[in-house]
Symmetry: C2
Subunit: 179 residues, 2 copies
């Protein structure tokens, strides 16, 4: 990649809601050019690809308010203050699926880096055992367990369509195959 | 998937910037429970996996203001008023890469459906020929052409990490393989 010549010169908060914060950034995009872009500032999050010994992946069917619909996604959530991404992933796995597992980093994904600061740290969980923990969910989640091969077939087919879930499931399959 | 019992009861705009709009939605998430969630409302966008006859994919290296860094991504952009997703994809391909191609739908991806309404319609472009069109970009894009196999190896490795790009490249490889 080329060296970065762009530079953030200033940042002003223009909206602070309960969960969303918008800032304006003045950015030098070329030696003689400064632009002002709006950015949704949101802390990084975590997600987990939980694979059991029968070759199944443990997903969550959840209602999402921004699209007013249900999607089949990885268990995921925010990183609480003081937590590492690994600790947050372990907590979310217990809260959303009632499972504990051995976690290893799979990938870190950006979402829409033009206007969204959030990155998602994705972990692979294996060696799953039951260990539920009460979470702070404001609505019901429905665990959905399916063969990883079947989940991958549903990716991009309209059933599993959340970009991070599609990306992580396909990367998990690749990491399980001999290269 | 289960029938949807959730319902959006009301929506209020709480912030309107130049490019970002935030609304509050009152949502009935259970018969006896109404929550208020913030949603970033953003129109759907398009992205293109442009594959040439030498097995190469044409990507874009771009500076992104929300992460203050460069990433290697699919050419992508918004759908202009009056455009279909297909037309928008063809225009973005000409503006960002100077190419025209035969477009077929690959998948539709959501990003972070809990707080972001945007979906991205991804197309596969083949039969590429030069046909540049001046765009409205506020900063420089750098075309980057690499073998699809090499691009896939870079997915999730820290070089290609934008979730939609990773998801779409891996889906494109799968759609090119006999099932």
């Amino acid at each position: 990649m080329a060296d970065q010549e762009e530079e953030v010169l200033a940042e002003r908060e223009v909206f602070r809601g309960r969960r969303l914060t918008v800032v304006e950034r003045d950015i030098r995009v070329a030696p003689d050019r400064v632009v002002t872009w709006e950015v949704l500032k949101k802390d990084d999050s975590v997600a987990v690809v939980a694979l059991d010994e029968e070759g199944r992946v443990h997903l969550v069917e959840e209602y999402f308010g921004a699209i007013d619909g249900r999607e089949l996604c990885l268990p995921k959530g925010r990183i609480d203050p003081g937590e590492s991404p690994l600790e947050a992933a372990g907590r979310e796995l217990r809260e959303e699926l009632g499972l504990r597992g051995d976690l290893t980093p799979l990938c870190t994904l950006s979402l829409s880096p033009g206007y969204l600061s959030q990155r998602t740290h994705v972990f692979l969980a294996t060696g799953l055992t039951p260990d539920p923990l009460d979470g702070d969910e404001e609505h019901s989640l429905k665990p959905a367990t399916l063969l990883l091969d079947d989940a991958v077939r549903l990716c991009g087919d309209g059933v599993i369509r959340e970009a991070r879930t599609v990306a992580a499931l396909l990367l998990a399959v690749r990491s399980a195959q001999p290269s």
